[in-house]
């Protein structure tokens, strides 16, 4: 008696059934496939088969496959117990052909041909082969009965398919199977798992397989204590939420040493995870800090250095974001292949555009108001209203779609941290802008003039500095930096006319907290407030955390009325 497996056609060749991630969902599909298969078998009278062309090739490539006939013979017994045992035995062999047999059985294409004929019937458009040997087949009369299955057999099929995919030639499939085993923890897979570990050569997959093995061993009552302890150790080293769940699931009847080790493992993993959680929050804090820094750094020039309470600062950020939108729009219509470079075009565009707007504002409004700080507040607030309404009239009040270039989307894992690329690049960008600005103020002649004019305007004028021009340039510089901040913020925030409003209060708080007129203070303040905010959030919630921070700043200003890094000297008093 031979066992034959058939495929309807080579194109519809059965892929080795993987235990996959969602085996429960897949089970229903299998049952369906099984029924359909049965009907198909009855109608077409196909003998059962092993192999698609692709499969046969694989089987031959692996040459030294064991002869499965002893096992496959048990299918013929037409007993559920024997069938299930045969499936388990197949899974232990780890042979790719075994995988095909299991897959065929799952789809109801496994049938028993009368002995002693070896099996291949080339019926219309189908290939038929012997399950046991994979040998070429000769015609078989139709009407062969399919191997039957009940729930127990179906479970066995599922387990065998899962176990066999541990030996799949594709490492990604093997890893996936290892994860599935890790979750299912079926002790029956253990022998296959051992085979797989012995064979495995890819380190990552090997680790996954070993963790799966440990996951099974932890709960296995008849495993030696030392093995179970080693398994606990391995799972503890894994150190994630799954590991905690696994360690908690150690059965009550386990030896005391194992239970103690598991309990200790849970504490260790939890402590570890807590630290990662803090680290993640610090990362979020850095990210928020970089946003604050970007938003505030332009203000550190216009407000901090020049003393203009620039309420239109947020609108400069908004204009920068809209510049990005316009640049991207142009690129989309005229040169879509350059889209990944859109931000590189948007940065200089925003710098120049907002810089010019800033110079315009300075020349028309602010130049008349030097020395009257509080009145600059009112005038620039007016300017901000005009800019907002202008943008609203041109682009409409709704959010504009700003796309992310491919290198800014996505995320990667660092340990247990998940890091998104856009946030990471924004942190880098904010620091670059900071350094550039610092160098500009400290190392260039423009920076020297700016500092001279802000420290003592009349003396600077007496030294031949054209103070009016320097004022305009400084304000333009502050606005331009707000503009390029807008380019970056357009990647993480809604680009709407109200964009700037959301940043203006935070920006002022950062500059004041850091100390007016001190760039380093702005840097420290931005990151301090960002990190403090994110560390407070888990305990207090987002809104209350923010409120606490505001109260803290109010109290801090009482203690140090001029911020973290206060300027000293006579100029401050006036």
């Amino acid at each position: 008696m031979a066992l034959d497996v058939s495929t309807p056609s080579p194109e519809a060749a059965p892929a080795p059934v993987s235990a996959g991630v969602a085996r429960h969902r897949d089970m229903f599909r299998w049952i369906d496939a099984y029924r359909i298969g049965r009907v198909a078998a009855a109608i077409l009278g196909l003998v059962v088969l092993l192999a698609s062309a692709g499969f046969t090739a694989t089987a031959r490539a692996q040459g030294g496959d064991p002869d499965l006939s002893a096992i496959t013979a048990r299918f013929a017994a037409d007993s559920y117990n024997d069938t299930a045992d045969a499936l388990n035995a197949l899974s232990a062999t780890g042979s790719p052909r075994a995988a095909a047999i299991v897959a065929a059985h799952a789809e109801g294409r496994l049938a028993v041909a009368p002995a002693p004929r070896p099996a291949l019937v080339p019926t219309a458009g189908s290939t038929v082969g012997s399950a046991a040997t994979g040998a070429a087949a000769s015609p078989t009369p139709p009407g062969l009965p399919a191997v039957r299955a009940n729930n127990r057999v179906r479970r066995a099929i599922e387990a065998a398919a899962g176990a066999l995919s541990l030996l799949d030639p594709d490492p990604a499939k093997r890893r996936e199977a290892a994860l599935a085993v890790f979750r299912a923890r079926d002790a029956a897979v253990l022998p296959t798992l051992d085979t797989a570990i012995a064979r495995e050569s890819v380190p990552g997959v090997k680790a996954a397989l070993e963790q799966a093995r440990a996951a099974i061993l932890i709960g296995k009552a008849d495993a030696p204590e030392a093995t179970r302890l080693a398994a606990v150790e391995l799972i503890t080293a894994r150190g994630d939420q799954d590991a905690i769940g696994l360690l908690r699931s150690v059965p009550a009847d386990a030896p005391a040493a194992v239970k103690a080790a598991a309990a200790e493992g849970v504490t260790r993993v939890e402590r570890n995870l807590q630290m990662w959680g803090v680290a993640q929050n610090v990362w979020y804090g850095l990210s928020l800090g970089s946003v604050l820094l970007l938003a505030a750094i332009g203000l550190a020039i216009t407000f901090g250095v020049m003393g203009v309470i620039n309420m239109a600062h947020g609108e400069m950020v908004m204009l920068g974001a809209y510049t990005t939108f316009v640049v991207q729009d142009i690129i989309r219509t005229h040169a879509p292949h350059l889209f990944d470079w859109s931000l590189a075009f948007a940065l200089p565009a925003a710098f120049v555009f907002t810089g010019l707007v800033g110079i315009l504002i300075e020349r028309t409004v602010i130049r008349w108001l030097y020395g009257r700080a509080l009145e600059t507040l009112l005038a620039t607030w007016g300017v901000s209203l005009i800019l907002q309404q202008a943008v609203r009239s041109i682009f409409g009040p709704t959010n504009q779609e700003v796309g992310a270039p491919s290198w800014m989307s996505g995320a990667f894992q660092l340990g247990h941290l998940s890091i998104t690329y856009n946030r990471m690049w924004i942190i880098v960008f904010s620091l670059l802008v900071f350094v550039a600005l610092l160098l500009l103020l400290r190392r260039t002649s423009l920076g020297l003039y700016v500092r001279a004019v802000t420290q003592n305007r009349r003396m600077a004028a007496a030294m031949g500095i054209r103070t009016g021009r320097i004022d305009a340039l400084t304000f333009g510089l502050g606005s331009a930096i707000a503009g390029i901040a807008g380019v970056a913020l357009s990647q993480i925030d809604n680009v709407s006319p109200n964009l700037g409003q959301g940043y203006i209060i935070d920006s002022f708080l950062v500059v004041v907290f850091g100390g007016v007129g001190n760039l380093w203070g702005t840097l420290v303040a931005a990151f301090t407030l960002g990190i403090a905010n994110k560390l407070l959030e888990p305990f207090a919630g987002a809104v209350l955390g923010k409120i606490l921070l505001l109260v803290f700043i109010i109290l801090f200003i009482q203690k140090r009325p001029r911020g973290l890094f206060a300027l000293k000297g006579r100029a401050v008093e006036s």
Binding site: V365, L374, W381, G382, S384, I386, S393, V512, P561, E573
Partner: protein, 373 residues
């Protein structure tokens, strides 16, 4: 700014407010709807609202115009007074709410409150609620000012932390857990002291009360700034450190004006709420407070009368403009800010004084002191 409590401008102001308090209700009630001088019904609460804003502007002018403290957080005091009044009005709804709970306001029933929070106790009693209208903003201002003035936080820094204060309060009141109705605030009021809030008669009385409150607030502030105390206050405004070196306790002078100003703002808020029928956290928004400062700047800083005038002018303009062409209102408001700060540093009142002086061709004998920062 001599010692006379009621100078010529003040006299005209008082006369106008008194006349308005009498003539506008009269024009509404006695003249038939077709008459050209008839004041339509909807105008009464609208004008009442302007009067509340005027009172608030007077309060801001007291600290900004005479004490040099630019508060970007006066909206907080205004809203706190409004919330105190709103809480009284909520308690007056009683079992007439949607859920029919005799004690708990609707939003509390909705949010599964089992009993009234402690800070809502007593607000069903009108005198207590009115006390809270002045005490809550007053206490907040006192504590805030106590710390800020003692630490000599001045100028821009003070402005920024007042802004932070109102911003923090806004965030807090937006939270449902605070027990003030969260996002929606307090609304759906039924009656005040037994009179229905929506009734025309009540609204006329509220309008007249607002006018009287504006007069009272003006007179109190005016009395304060014309007294010896007021002279020191102006000295503090102009050169704080010199005044301190002369031996005055600068922080105490500032603290009194600051706290009083907050209380007046609270009263303005309390009168505002029954006339507009709602109070919600957006009143705490920093932009609101900045706009309030603009009213004072438009009218004329350091004049009290000008502040009231500016509040009415700007808000009337807002109503008119937003009705006419809503798109243009922000342009107009923005341009107003710029033009006023650039060309009218003393506001409308200053412009008027300049014009009359030019007409008379008589140079003023006493130059008005320029307000410093």
């Amino acid at each position: 700014m001599s010692g006379r409590i009621i100078d010529r401008t003040g006299g005209i102001f008082i006369a106008i407010v008194l006349l308005a308090a009498v003539l506008i209700p009269a024009a509404n009630l006695l003249l038939p709807p077709g008459h050209p001088l008839h004041v339509p019904d909807y105008m009464i609460p609208l004008l009442g609202k302007y009067l509340c804003y005027a009172l608030l502007a007077v309060a801001i002018d007291l600290v900004w115009g005479y004490c040099g403290v630019l508060s970007l957080g006066h909206g907080a005091f205004f809203a706190l007074g409004g919330y105190a009044m709103g809480m009284y009005l909520m308690r007056q709804i009683g079992p007439r709410g949607v859920y029919g709970n005799p004690v708990l306001p609707d939003f509390m029933v909705f949010l599964n409150y089992k009993e009234l929070p402690w800070f809502w106790q007593g607000f069903d009693i009108f005198p207590y609620a009115m006390l809270m209208v002045v005490l809550v903003p007053g206490a907040l201002a006192f504590v805030f000012g106590w710390f800020a003035f003692r630490s000599r936080v001045t100028g821009v820094y003070l402005s920024i932390i007042t802004q932070a204060m109102t911003f923090a309060l806004m965030l807090a009141f937006f939270r449902n857990d605070m027990g003030f109705g969260g996002n929606n605030g307090l609304t759906d009021f039924k009656d005040i002291l037994g009179f229905p809030v929506q009734a025309h008669g009540t609204r006329i009385v509220l309008f007249m009360l607002s006018a009287l409150a504006l007069l009272a607030g003006y007179l109190v502030c005016r009395a304060l700034v014309t007294s010896k105390y007021g002279k020191v206050l102006v000295a503090v405004r102009d050169t704080e450190s010199r005044t301190r070196f002369l031996g005055y306790r600068v922080e105490n002078y500032k603290l009194l004006a600051w706290t009083l100003s907050a209380m007046i703002a609270g009263v303005a808020g309390a009168l505002y709420v029954p006339q507009v029928g709602i109070i919600n956290p957006s009143e705490f928004a920093p932009s609101q407070s900045i706009e309030m400062v603009i009213w004072v700047a438009v009218g004329g800083r350091g004049t009290l009368v000008g502040a009231a005038l500016g509040a009415v002018l700007v808000n009337a303009g807002k109503t008119w403009f937003t009705g006419l062409m809503p798109e243009a209102w922000l342009f107009a408001l923005g341009a107003l800010f710029v033009v006023v700060t650039l060309f009218m540093p003393k506001g409308v009142l200053g412009l008027w004084a300049q014009l009359t002086r030019r007409l008379k061709r008589a140079p003023s004998a006493v130059p008005t002191p320029t307000p410093a920062e």
